[in-house]
Subunit: 461 residues, 4 copies
């Protein structure tokens, strides 16, 4: 990382270089983490006897003042000072005088920014974990409320088998469960402290690294100074996890868009989560769900960007690492905005029971149950499947449902069919209840799954 010109190099760069070089328009967001890290560093220098306690105290208080100025919106970020770190240090020195020049003792911007970024990402991960958990709560609540609503399970967007709305909502909840675990694992893995690693080969002073790590809430100091300053897999890890969250939310968003169509009519978004058109006065649009799909593209793109950025970099720190901040900030914002908006949208969603259950009446959703019935009569499944497939064709040609076929039509397909009582197989409600096995949509099973999930979410870590 560059900076501190004026000794080796002239004071200023030209405008084309400055436009490329400055980063404070983006990295100012790290200011809280930067100040917190610097305060711990100042106190660490005093503990190591490198500066006096009085100097440390002055630095800490000066940094408090800088924080207050930023908080109050009175701070002027200056691109000529390049980045958040130099902006804060320069202002600190204006406030406290020459002692400000002692803050950077035994430290480099390389370990400083690595520390700031880990503090920031940890905080953002906690925020995201909490947003995931809130969304899961809403899903569990809605699953319980709608426990008696049936609907078809689709594959290939074609009606497949009878199922239960709650079962569908619980599938969404399972995605959130794994997403939570994945980001929590990333949080555990990244919670190590780079401070003290210096530019690349460790600080020249015997800094109390374990103490500083503990002060900043880290589990331990990082074990290798080169790794500490030049590695960013914690970003690849976090942004990769967020991209999966985004992918999952986009699937939910896609279903909400679809279910909101006139043609499906399964749900109505509350007005609060709907938008209209600037031209077409009748429109009530599911923008919330579309935006969630759109954010997923950004989350995927950002995950890709940090991988590409890290590829083939020599150790240690190289300046392109600066470019990881925009994708990082954007991904956390996109993920938490999406989670929170979907949480509100699903909490206030109206499910149209008549349309959902009505969808079981067409599409031969019990064809598998009919084939299964033949299996219990000893007919190999492949043959049963073939027989029922032909029956469906007959029904389609006649424009009727399977239950409306005559005994003659049934008997032509397979002799046993004319004799059997098919009503149990062809009643969607009974078909759902037959699926009592683990992971199935029968009522008791889904209620059990809700209970089990509630227990897991109470202690997810």
């Amino acid at each position: 990382m560059s900076g501190a010109r004026g000794g080796r190099l002239p004071d200023a760069v030209g405008p084309a270089m400055m436009a490329l070089n400055q980063s404070v328009d983006i990295d100012w967001k790290l200011w809280r983490c930067d100040i917190r890290g610097s305060q711990v560093h100042a106190r660490g220098l005093a503990r190591a006897g490198v500066i006096s306690e009085a100097d440390a105290e002055q630095l800490v208080r000066g940094l408090d003042q800088v924080a207050a100025e930023i908080e109050a919106g009175e701070f002027r970020w200056d691109p000529a000072r390049e980045d958040v770190h130099m902006n804060i240090e320069a202002r600190l020195t204006e406030i406290v005088g020459p002692v400000g020049g002692k803050l950077h003792t035994g430290r480099s911007r390389n370990d400083q920014v690595a520390t700031d970024l880990r503090l920031f990402v940890r905080e953002q991960l906690d925020d995201t974990l909490s947003a995931i958990s809130d969304f899961a709560d809403v899903l569990l609540e809605r699953a319980e409320q709608e426990i008696d609503v049936l609907m078809p399970a689709y594959t290939h967007l074609q009606r497949g088998q009878p199922s239960r709305l709650s079962h569908h909502l619980m599938a969404w909840q399972e995605l959130m469960w794994r997403d939570y675990g994945r980001l929590r694992d990333a949080r555990v893995r990244m919670n190590e402290c780079p401070l003290g690693a210096g530019a690349v080969a460790g600080s020249g002073f015997p800094l109390p690294r374990e103490w500083a790590a503990a002060e900043l809430g880290f589990d331990r100091p990082m074990r290798n100074s080169l790794d500490a300053t030049a590695s960013r897999d914690f970003l690849m890890d976090a942004l990769g996890g967020l991209a999966i969250v985004g992918t999952h939310l986009s699937r939910i968003g896609e279903e909400l868009v679809l279910w909101s169509t006139y043609e499906f009519g399964f749900v109505s978004l509350s007005d609060e989560y709907s938008t209209s058109s600037s031209m077409m006065p009748q429109k009530k649009n599911p923008d919330v769900a579309e935006l969630v799909r759109g954010k997923a593209a950004r989350l995927i793109g950002n995950a890709n960007t940090v991988l590409v950025l890290e590829k083939s970099l020599c150790f240690g720190y190289g300046r392109e690492l600066q470019e990881d901040k925009l994708p990082t900030f954007d991904s956390f914002e996109a993920a938490t905005q999406s989670l929170r908006a979907l949480t509100g949208a699903v909490a206030t969603l109206r499910f149209n029971k008549a349309r959902l259950e009505g969808a079981l009446d067409h599409g031969h959703v019990c064809a598998t149950d009919l084939a299964d019935l033949l299996v219990t009569e000893g007919i190999p499944f492949r043959e049963a499947h073939h027989v029922v497939g032909q029956l469906v064709r007959v029904a389609e040609d006649a424009g009727v449902q399977l239950s409306e076929l005559s005994p003659t039509q049934l008997g032509k397909a397979h002799a046993r069919l004319a004799e059997l009582d098919l009503s149990g197989a062809l009643d969607p409600r009974r078909a759902v209840e037959r699926r009592q096995l683990i992971g199935g949509p029968a009522k008791a099973r889904v209620l059990g799954a809700i209970e089990d999930a509630r227990a897991r979410w109470k202690h997810p870590d």
Copy 2:
């Protein structure tokens, strides 16, 4: 696109939805294009007799005032008004009164934003093309200046054959030539006008689409209203082209980083384009080249994002299209900043002739020429290659160069070698001049290539 609530839907949305829904923090950058498009639309409405000339005049002047306010930094962008379009229209109505409500006649935000975005992208493409051309000019100038400096051509980062610095710079220039052509083709392809396409099925009024297209500098109106409002391949095209530019610049950046090392020592960046370290006082770092590599990651990531965003979208307009703006703005900025900084860096670069030419002394860069000499003696190339390969091994073991091998050593490898005059083959300077064929590094050939390129760049379109 949403907006214009209050008729069909209540006035406001909740905070989680608003955070996701508003876009003015990003799309305000389109303001100039938005105002220009609206002014043409207002005049078009008058031409079509939909509104009066006086109304149109009032709208145009009101928009001029909005523009002046924005220019002066006095405009307050309001997230509650969602986006750049509604912010401007709302302010216009404050200024001109109820007639402001006529501006959006026969228009939708869907054709409006498509028009704004095309105007913006076209302007940015022109800016990028000019930056590419400027960079090529500097490359040609440096190639001419350094025409007499030899250096090895590397493959696999190993010294390969004798070549010429100008030949290397001309390779960079060839990349720029194709990048220019690619973006120019994209510009030609995208220069069509969506205005008049309405929300999706065309405006309900007989707007003068050809006139409006011409007024806005477009080649023609778009041919299909659904395509006009829902397609964004002009963004995929532009961002794809910019990603290739970024990839090319990253290759140049990588070479500058490498050539700036102590170990290579081929170049010195001017101080103006160098940075130092916050910890290590001796450092002079090639951050400009590293940042260019880093920007390439962003350019690749953004190109990916817009492809992902467009994938599997139904027609017509869907709200996720809002999400294409950040990657678009970021890519143009990253590309032009990189081009301009590299232009300055290369213009002020100092080439170290001694180190470049000195690199020809080691690495057996004339081994191919020796094999070629054997070929002219009638020995099949594969055999000649094998013979020289063994000689290199002998030389390496002895710690000498090929030219220092004794006739005995040479003769052992192949009888003819002891008899031939090898000095021509083993002199790098003569080896370069032997490569007179098209595309080769001989001096006359490179001078010709420079002249030819200059002529092409004069009329690149």
Copy 3:
């Protein structure tokens, strides 16, 4: 590129290295191009007087025999010979004896593979262009056949305005038109010949580069030997263009999946392009459209891969370039398979006119027309939009369509409404015909667009 061990290096590598190093399991697909390029090189060597005409003749005939063996499936590809080039040359030498060792004179695998790959990509581009053109033909044909079928135009997947099926198909056709142009531009840009560039600094022999380029159908020799061997923007360009094609086809695929649902019911895929389920006997699934969406993911991923691969590579040739072949082969296959399958699927698609036109009856698709009518009465559009928005709410609450509202209800919203004849505004068929402007869905306009497109596709280049 490596190879030709045995002189400088020992003959063999270990198994871990061999697994990574060999590429013949993938690049054997280049064999036709490789043989064609080698035959021209052999003849070029003779023209330049480097080898005799008789030698050249022997090489050409030997290569013909190798081709015949591969064609007949009798060729044994050997990973120990690394790649397609060494496999063919080794077999050639078995056939023709020591003269085989002359083929590689004045050539490197670096210019050889660059030539092979350009020949291959050019051929594949031509194939893809032809597949795009065939698809456009089918779209034009269907657009003409279905000219009288109306349907709603959707935005946000909500019914928006009345439109015409042919207008929708013509939007798809417009995508194909630009995709064609983009790939054709890429083809023009890449049609230059690397042969003669040698390893990096040009061949050591005065090869007839212009003659060879012409023989191989290239427009000219590449202008710089370093660029010729180390640049692959022609792949980034082609794969980027294919990714856009994939994105477009995925949009069409998404619509076919949706339109095939029971809920929409707009289309039926022919049985030939449908699939069933292994478990659910009633299923008729739109796998063709889903696979097209899936291929789009591969096309996007591959475009990304080649960009990432090229990023930050030093000149000249580096071995990672080997890794661009799998994505290249996969992308062309995915694109042409998708195009051809969609062409068949759309050609045999049955449109359900009753469902398409029935969709105009609900969703207040003429609300914009009603607002436009108020505009013609002098009411500013924003006000008109608001009035109609409130009317839609009234109609929704009453469960009726706009045309079913009573004069009293209308009059409450706006006095003029009770007096006007609304039947013209609220009839979807008349609403479509009102959109006569360029790019609109009125019948005459769409017929004109079809005619215009047919003319363009006759001479697309």
Copy 4:
């Protein structure tokens, strides 16, 4: 998933559809997992009383025979049978007769392929984990062997501070440690069994899901049938983790390429891991390291592909999921090939101690130590940094090292400098030993880090 035509649909599809639809050319690799899963399913059917024990036994033995045929290379994969599953089932039925038609009872290809793929990925993850661990072993071994070799630590590829080769190798090892943990977490998360989930809504038979899960080595059955058949985050997770591995290996590869240059000369690859050139007989190229960089591009591209593929998919199973297999297979192969080849290359690498330590003599690598010395004299670091920066400039201008400056020159920069003994600060060897803090390069610290790492790797899970 399609298949089992002939009931509902005609027997065959056309060639364009077949080319797109068949997948056996790729998914045949799943055969072992498919057979293993089917055998457990057959026994599960018997346990549930759905088929007889005798039938189950016949199916299991028939599948053993199919496995034997595949193993022996006698199996003919038939694209007309679409995929690995139908190929195996069809052959099974040829062998065992009509009872073969019972295998698919209560199962769908949807839960079948999900089970196969999880078995496959689990096995591949185990293989990758073991390859990572082996590579770490070699790194630890080399770190121990080279413990006394010093070298500069670089930032921005400029010499920064004195360090130790082992410290650098231990940084590589830290990357591997986290990569191991990340993939192991993914393995834990994915080890759940989909079998029994049926097509989407659960099997219609009371299958013993817990028993089957245990038989197949899974920790539990998946909790939701919809999630079980339609989710693939285990692939996004695994491929994301592999992309990070690839990124890390590419960094190591980049350093090996660089260190192998004549200019750096830090290492020599063993001949076994080197390659030569087809044209330039002297070349010894680091292709192994370049290929590792290239594979990283594929790993990044594949991770992107599966994210894109999953985005916006409705539940349940959709056919595009077929397209995840090629990227999955390719990523595991690329990662393990890269790991194994790098393991061999590093194990046999020769470090050039003279060149590594010689690099400390130039570049003012002790400038930070000099500034630190001034700090111990009470001078604020920023001032000290400035003073030393100016001294470096003086030294550069004079063409000398800092230690060669005269007292007068030193005194001019800062009075104290003329008086102090600078030899300790300016001796790289002592500078390294001063960095005793945690994570620093002092010998004892690095030896401790090696010991600690060895202990961790013994029980990495």
